[in-house]
């Protein structure tokens, strides 16, 4: 009965160093298997008792059996601790929280465009792999992903070997902010790259990244003729409870943890710009 705010135990069974400041943690229930079932775009509260608890998007697709993964950037107390732990460490986990991306409704049979910047790929990663595992349910898929440098591109091995594989039926467009030795791909910021790629405005877009990137991506998409009703994003605000009660993630009459974190841009237009 207390399960919505009381955490369960999870075990970290694998830790992958993705970039200089991002690691991906695999979490299983004690004794194996998933802690719970989730949908793409949902989040979970991870905690180390005595250090703190924080909300993270679930990076792995629901189609993955046996575990959940979280790509986490080192940027505060909890994340610092997580980055220092070893495989086999128990943590606490509760969730899943929030409204997922509408993968089984609005997104179905649509031509999709994913746009991500930096660790903003984390929540979209779950959707992309879900789409890949249900490939025939979706139309064309393009992924635009950018980061500060080659080293900061999250999941690069998977992107190159799985997403960019012609068999995936997806097109991947990578970019980094500045010229770099050993990089012969595109150089430049994500919003400009999106404009250069000149996508057909019939696509349904999922975007996540730093607020400043999202702002300019939205401008670029508007220039290309996209409507706000076609563009989804996922928001990040401080959260404590995850169930719409503690008040932290309140924006207008919405609680991001419960009514979000996935919003369509026309929905965000009706909310105060406090995010």
């Amino acid at each position: 009965m207390t399960d919505n705010i009381i955490p369960m135990l999870g075990v970290v069974t694998d830790i992958r160093t993705d970039t200089p400041d991002i690691k991906t943690f695999r979490v299983e229930a004690v004794g194996g298997g998933k802690c719970f079932e989730h949908k793409p775009g949902q989040c979970a509260m991870l905690s180390i008792p005595g250090v703190g608890e924080a909300m993270f998007s679930i990076t792995s697709s629901p189609t993955v059996a046996g575990y959940q993964e979280f790509a986490i950037k080192k940027c505060g107390c909890v994340t610092e601790w997580l980055h220092h732990m070893d495989v086999g460490q128990q943590i606490t986990i509760r969730g899943p929280y929030g409204k997922p991306f509408p993968v089984d409704d609005e997104l179905r049979n649509k031509d999709l465009l994913f746009i991500a910047g930096g660790v903003g790929l984390a929540p979209l990663h779950s959707v992309i792999n879900y789409v890949l595992d249900n490939r025939s349910d979706y139309g064309k898929v393009d992924i635009v992903y950018g980061s500060r440098s080659k080293e900061d591109l999250l999941d690069l091995p998977e992107i190159q070997s799985v997403w960019a594989d012609p068999k995936s039926g997806m097109n991947v467009h990578l970019t980094i902010d500045r010229e770099q030795e050993g990089w012969d791909g595109h150089v430049g910021f994500v919003p400009n790259f999106v404009k250069e790629l000149d996508f057909d405005p019939s696509r349904t877009v999922l975007v996540c990244g730093p607020p400043i990137m999202i702002k300019f991506v939205l401008e670029a998409l508007t220039e290309l003729g996209f409507e706000k009703t076609q563009i989804y994003t996922t928001m990040e605000l401080r959260m404590k409870c995850g169930v719409g009660k503690c008040g932290r993630c309140n924006i207008g009459d919405k609680y991001v943890c419960k009514d979000g974190p996935v919003f369509r841009f026309d929905e965000l237009d009706e909310l105060p710009a406090e995010y």
Binding site: I5, M8, G50, G76, Q90, T92, K240, K245, R248, P272
Partner: protein, 340 residues
Amino acid sequence: MMKKISFQDLPRLFREISETQTLIAPIEKCGQVNFGVWTPDSTLRLDALKTVKSAKGAFFPQVEDIVHFRMKDKTIDIHPAEVLTEDFVIFGVRACDARSFELLDRVFLADPVDPFYAARRKHGTVVTLACNQPEETCFCTNFGIDAADPCGDVTAWMDRDTLYLRANTEKGEALISRLENGEEAPVEDLKKSIGEILKKLPLNDLNLTGFDGDHLMEKFNDPKWEELARGCLGCGTCTFVCPTCQCYDVRDFDAGENGIQRYRCWDSCMFSDFTLMAHGTNRPTQTERFRQRFMHKLVYFPAKNEGLYSCVGCGRCLEKCPQSIHIVNVIKSLGVKEDD
């Protein structure tokens, strides 16, 4: 059925109740009246119109343990806190605070139900007390609250040396059925005289037109917020005395060998770190934090709850703000003026 008991006999009733249940009542301690556990040694102050802190703590305690951990090497033991399983009575709740329980219900009993709050609501019996002498800072009438006939499991009225009580629910019936029958007439007279005072209160005609979801962006973008918030110190006093403020923090206390206690405690949207994240805060100045508190009470909450405001007009914030900035200023400044 009206019941009655003389003030002289009240300690006897309280003793009887407290033999089987925890009894919470307005008690004076160190010169302040607050709701606390009654014992025969307590200084009962049913006459005090407003406790310093509201009655919400009976259902949503200021600090509450939720889960305890023990860590050893790489392993963790999780021990959830027990929810309340014993009945209790809260006696002497005023009409404003009684309404606040209904508002807190909208938050904590909404899906998913908060188990700790729900258990307290289930096991608590609320005895309300009509306000014989509402004060100038009272403005509950604006929110459709009747201080002469408050809700609750039992409603009580103080008339000279007698307390009259009426049960409104089965729980209330169980509590007062043992008392002797009382007359209706003194209560009717009291209600009338209270009604007369309520009519004359200086703040009983606030214009709340336009405070609703339809005017959300208009109210949010009102340029007056900056001026209104200018004096705000961000001390959070208003939120701590407020019967409807329900934001909370979750914290861990590391007790060394005794493990780690995770608890929740009242928090305030007026504090600068309330929304602080690694990359900064979405409400960087006191103006935005101030605006959030009042927008939530007057616009966001009613937008989600059929027009119900998250203010009960108790007037505590009017009395306690060190800068005399409060919800009445906000309503008057941002509201529709008579000549608009």
